[in-house]
Structures are given as structure tokens and as C-alpha cells.
Amino acid sequence: MSEMHQEANGSGDSIDLSQFYQIFFEEAGENLDLMEQMLLSLNLETADDEELNGIFRCAHSVKGGAATFGFADVAELTHQMESLLDRLRRHELQPNSQMVDVLLESADASRGLLARHQAGGVGESPPTADLVRRISVLVAGGVLEQSPAPVSMPAPSPVAVVTPKTASSGTRSLQIRIGPLDKPEQADAILELFRDIAGLGQIVASSSDRADTRVFAVETTSSDDDLLDLFEFHVSRDQVSIHAAQSEIAAEPSAGYGFFDLPGTQAETTSYADDPPPGAPLAPLPGFGFFDGSPGAPDLKEVAGATAGATSPGSKVAATNAGTKAIVPAVQAEAATIRVAISKVDQLINLVGELVITQAMLAQNSRALDPAVYQQMLVGLADLDRNTRDLQESVMSIRMIPMSIVFSRFPRMLRDLASKLGKKVEFVTQGEATELDKGLVEKITDPLTHLVRNSCDHGIEMPADRLAAGKPELGTITLSAAHQGGSIVIEVRDDGRGMSREKILSKARERGLEVSDQMSDSEVWQLIFAPGFSTADVVTDVSGRGVGMDVVKRNITALNGTVEIDSAEGFGMKVSVRLPLTLAIMDGMSVGIGNEVYLLPLSSVIESFQVNENAVNTVGQGSQLVKVREEYMPVIEMEKLFQVPRFNSEKCNGIMVVIEADGSRVALLVDELLGQQQVVVKNLESNYRKVPNVSGATILGDGKVALILDTAALVRRSRH
């Protein structure tokens, strides 16, 4: 395990999940507490879907988190709980008190496991094999024996007396004969049992001396009774005979069971060296692998191994699942974080915003003061200025979380998707540490998922096609995040087949969209955002139905963001999503029109220039075009559009500001440029209504409200 992790960590900027452990532990703890409460208040006869779904969600969240962070033992146990709860909520099973008991115990055990992980893997993990087994019995619709095998909770010192027969821990080698059966295939079902119920043990089919009998070699931690209980769903109890492997060998040495060719004693001592000989007192050694039989250890290797195998060895992905040992004890400082309602943080942000405005007002008013007379006050104001800025920065950072939270969900999704599609894909992430507003992170996840899925489904070719095209068999999908000025740019890149300009144009014509061959590439790529547009030859269940890109676009536009596509046929494509760092703060350029001040999002301002009278041409019904470096651009006269009253005609329409949105540009005619500033974006709709061509409002340094122009709407307007 530890080698694995080091190897994974060796690859430079791998995702260091350990920084999120604390969050996971807190959330898992809350979920478990909630689940316990709900379980306790669950009325078995009248349990409604709401309650059962609620409990299911708790287990599901814990499992999801545990799997992400590589706590396989927790994931395993909660997975079992989830299976049971899933059947309950589907009404395939009727809840009973046994189930509640087992679930409560499992919740306790999960807490124990989590506590152990939180402590950096020190100490013993509570045994979960028996819980897992009991849940599986219940999931299969069985009933537990009246007194469930006592779960030996971790004793202060491991001096539990373990008898070889009923031990809940300690692996035994058994030989199981099932038969005679009319249909011996029935017995094969127990192979699946072992496969499905992780933690039950290992099973290998052995050759049988009789056609109507199946023989299995089994290594398990479960007692004979438990095994019989399980088998009962497939074969009748009295047809099963269980023997300890070695005695079997002794009794029938001629049978020649392939697996047990080794002398029994040797098998005991080599393969299970950790297990004491039956009856021998357990040595209370520290760190003794007493619970090696618990599902955690072997499974974790499997998971990690599977990941490493599916992606290229040493790829950044491997770190995701291999992180169990990565918990540095330093992380576990108690109360390293506190969880606070988001509304409180928002209130804080609002108040600090107010403070900044007040401070700006003071600064403005104090400018006229004579520095010689008011020296001390001016020094104080300068301090206030610095402190408020620092304060604002720290308060804003409360809401910021790293992009890795979003990225971490993709390796697994991509792996499943690639194997489903029969493609070979390597997933690379860059800039996971880039921070983004929590509200944005939540909203960006779905569009990104869609884009990554698209890349895998449509972008990356089948391995054979790739080889034929002279590309490496392994396709690469890169997800990167970086700050650029006041925005964050998230890119999804693939080295797949890219998009075909001709194909998109012909598809667009088919759908009756207005297109021409003269359209620029970027305009052509924008076509795929049209509702219902898909160029996929085959509609798969993953994508290709044409729903999606338009939704992606809409969602990102709603966040004040933009989507750009770059593609080269045969070489891949790149989708760049540009988002403001936070919804609450925007870099704006203030422009003056008459006596009024409006703000433009700086991200959409391309350039500004003084108007030359002869550069403006009028076309048709008075709409104007301005020539900017050999390109004609529509002009919007802001004064007319916003019906700005004009009191003095002296300073007049002198400046053009070129803005870009949705891939097109327009020039806005304004009086003057006033400056650039960070502004707190406020919602107009909360107390008033949506105003055309305005996306919001902000409060300027003098306390006045200024409207923020909706560049996308202005560009759309110029098209009509």
C-alpha cells in the first residue's frame, strides 16, 4: 500500500486528497449521526419513502466520500449498508428490527473505522466482516439467527480468545462439497456469492470426482453456520459439507485437489502466517495483523490495483484510490475547521462589502482635507483602507474552495466510461489548487461533467482508429484550471478526432440554421451550442442526443461565464470555460454616459478608442457600423438605448468600447471612460425586476447605485 502511494505521489502534481480528509471526516460524521437519528425514529410498519431515501442518501454519501478518498474498508461497509437500504427503499424488502440493529451497528463500526483513519491509521480497525456478512444475509432476504454472532469490538488489548470454528476473524481454509445435485450448475451460484459479498473470502472451484458434485476451495473468515446460511439460497443445507482443508487432505489424499497440492501444514504456515495455529494464545504484539481478515486490507489493494491497471501506471489518477496510508497524522488536529451556515458567511461578505463602500466614501471625502492639518486622520484613513482590503480578501477566501474538489470526481467516471466504450483514455489534471467560489463550484460541476463525457465519447477514437491515424493508442483528456486576471479558465482538452467544419455546417443546414461557408471557425464551433445539435454519427446512451451542449452553454452563461471552442480536425479539441472568480465580485470598467455611470464587466471589454467621425457608417434604417481595423462592427448608442437625459451638450459621445460576448463583438458609444474597479455585484431582481440590457447593479464608492451592463444581451440586440 505504502509503495503504491509513494509511486502515485511521485508523479509531480498529483491530486493531494489529504487536504480534504478533514472535510470528509466531518461530513461523514454528520451523515452517520443523521442516519442514526433517522434509523432510531424509523417506524418499521409505516416507514415512508422519504425516510428510507433519507437514510439511503446518508449511507450513499459516506460511501461516495470513502471511495473517493480510498478508505476502502469504510466504503465496503457502507456499500453493504447501501445495498440493504436500496432494497428497502425499493420496497423489495420490508424493514425489520434486525435490519435496524445491523445498520446501527454498522454505523458505529463505520465511525470506528473513520476514527482510525483520522488518527492516521493507528490502532485497530473494528472488525466488519461479520457485519458485512449479516447485512448480505439481510439483503438477500434472509433472516439472521436469533442471537447474531457477537461482534467483538476492539478490545483494549488483543487478547481475545479465538476458536478456530466460530472466529469472526482469522482466515480458515475450507473445502466445501456440494452435492449430489440434479443440476450441479446451481452450486456455481456460490462462486458469485463470494464475488458479490466482499469480505466473505476467496473461493476457487476445484475438480470434483463426481459429475453431480461441486467442490470448492474456500478461504474465509466466516463460520460454517454463516456459510450454510448463505448457501441456503442456492442449494439445500444438507447437500453441503464443509471440511477444514487440511483434514480433508488427510482423509482423502488421493483426491488430488489442485489447489491444495501443498501439504496442508505448509499451507497453514506460509499463506496464513499471520494467523496463529488454532488454540494457540494470541501474542499481544503491537501492530499485529489481527484483523487482516477484515475487508479493508485486501480490498484496498484490489481497488488501487484496478485503477493503476486501467490507467497508465504512475498516472496522476492512481493517487485517488491509493490514499489510505496518506493520512498524515498532522492533518487530524481537532477542530481544524468549523462548519458554518453559508448564509452567515454571505452576511459577513455583505457587511464587509458595506465597509469597503463606507471606507471608499471616507477616502473620497478626505481628499480635500489639508494633509498638514489632518495628518493623523489621513494616516488613520490609510490604515483603514489597508485593513478593509485585507479583511475583504480574507472574508472572500472563506467561500473559496480548490478546483480539485470538482476534478476528483472525474477519474472514476472517465475510467468507467472508457471501459464501457472500449476506449483507452488517460486523464490528466492541471491546476487543481486553483480556488473558486463554492457557489460556482457547485454549478460548474455538471457542465464540466458533460464536457469531459463528450470528449471521451465523441472526441477520443477507438484504440484501433487511433493507431491507424498514427496516434498513440492511449487517448489523453486534460482538465486544467488557471486564474487569468479576474477570471478562472477551465479547459477540457482531448487529442481525439476533433470536430469537422464541413460536418457541422451540413448538419446545421439540415436543421435549417442560417449558415454560410464564409463563417469563421469560431462561429462554426458556436453552432454546436444550438439546441438539439449533435454531429455524433451514433447516438449512444452516453451522449450524442444533442441535449447538452446548449444546456452547458446556458448554465455557464448564467454564471456570467463564456465558453469557447477550438478544434482541429484529427488533432482534438479544446473547450475553454471562462468564469468570474466569484459571483459576488466582478472586475468592472465604469463608463460615463451623460451624468450617469454604468459598469461593463472587464472580462468582456476588448478595447476602446476615440471615434473618428468618418469611421462610422450608417446602414439601412439608421443602424451604424464602425470600422475597426478592416472589420465592421455594429454600434450601439448607449445614450439612446438607455434614454439618458442630456444636460450639457459639450462633452459628447466620444469613446467606443468594443465588447465581446458569445463570439461576436459590438462597439458601445459612450461619453467617457471613468476607470476600472472591483465591484460587488448585487441583484436587481431581489427587490425590483429584471431590467433589459442590465445584468445587475453595484454600489460605487460614493454610495450611489450603478447598473452593470449585460454584454451578452447587448450583443444579441445588435444582431437583430
Binding site: 448585487k682 436587481l684 427587490n687 425590483y688 429584471k690 431590467v691 433589459p692 454600489i699 447605485v705 447598473l707
Partner: protein, 164 residues
């Protein structure tokens, strides 16, 4: 008056904030009133009805300002030192209304309300609760919620739907 309120069986007494618009005196439910401020020129909003003066900054909240005098068709709507803005909280939405001056807060028992006669005017009949008589003075009691959520005020959520 307090005794009246406490005694069951007697008609409920409600308190009204009274203000003047031109020569008329109006009253609105005091519980809808959040605060009263002096008038400051708000930020104009293009293509809004004339009685919506714009939006202003109320301690960080963007609040629309409605001039009730324009809405109710008063002859003069001058902005003087005594012009005030009554900030209303209507089911969580904050709106400021401009009035000529605020008079006082009056308690009126509900049985002293007279139904308003049918008159043609700028106010919807629905938005008038009734007329309150207090000695010589006549108060026009407004249902400010109804008045403000009238379609042209664009303040209710339904309007937003149709406007969008």
C-alpha cells in the same frame, strides 16, 4: 387605547402610518413600514414607468424607489427637504415610496373604517381598504401590498414571469 386593544370583544385596533400626497392624507399599515428616510436622487432605470424613480442603495441592498405622487396622479411632485421615502417591507421585498411628508402614526379601531365610495381615480378600488375618519380629518387607508403588486409596478413575481 391600549385598554381597548387588550379587551376582547372590542373591535381590533390597527396602527397606521399617515402621510400626505398633495392635499390628501393617506394611511398604510405600520407593520409594513421598515423605516423612513430623506429623499436622495436614485439611479435612473431606462424604460421604466415614470413613477419608478430608479434604484437606491439602502445599506447595501438595492431598493427600487416608487414615487407615490406620480403613481396616484398628484399635480405636483417636487423634491424638497421634507420629501421623504418610506421604506416598506412587503413580504420580504424592500421597496421605497416617495411621499410629500409623513404626519404621524394613528390607531384606528376597525369599526371606524368606512367603505370607500366608488370613485374614478388613479387608485384601484381594490387597493383602498376604506376611509378612516378621525375628527375632521379623513384618511384614505391603502392596501399597500395590492397597490404595489399591481401589474405596472412590476414588483410581484408574476410580473417578472410575463416580463421575462
Amino acid at each position: 387605547m391600549m385598554e381597548q386593544m387588550d379587551r376582547p370583544g372590542t373591535p381590533a385596533v390597527r396602527e397606521y402610518l399617515t402621510f400626505r400626497l398633495g392635499g390628501e392624507e393617506y394611511g398604510i399599515d405600520i407593520l409594513k413600514v421598515q423605516e423612513i428616510r430623506g429623499y436622495e436622487a436614485p439611479t435612473r432605470i431606462a424604460q421604466a414607468p415614470a413613477f419608478i424613480k430608479g434604484v437606491t442603495n439602502l445599506r447595501g441592498t438595492i431598493v427600487p424607489i416608487v414615487d407615490l405622487r406620480l403613481k396616484l396622479g398628484c399635480e405636483h411632485a417636487h423634491y424638497t427637504a421634507s420629501t421623504v421615502v418610506v421604506i416598506l417591507n412587503l413580504n420580504g421585498r424592500i421597496v421605497g415610496v416617495v411621499v410629500d411628508s409623513v404626519s404621524d402614526v394613528m390607531a384606528l379601531p376597525s369599526d371606524s373604517l368606512r367603505p370607500a365610495p366608488e370613485v374614478h381615480g388613479a387608485i384601484d378600488q381594490d387597493a383602498v381598504l376604506g376611509l378612516g375618519a378621525l375628527g375632521e380629518r379623513m384618511l384614505i387607508l391603502l392596501d399597500i401590498d395590492k397597490l404595489m403588486s399591481g401589474l405596472d409596478m412590476a414588483l410581484s413575481s408574476e410580473t417578472e414571469m410575463t416580463a421575462a
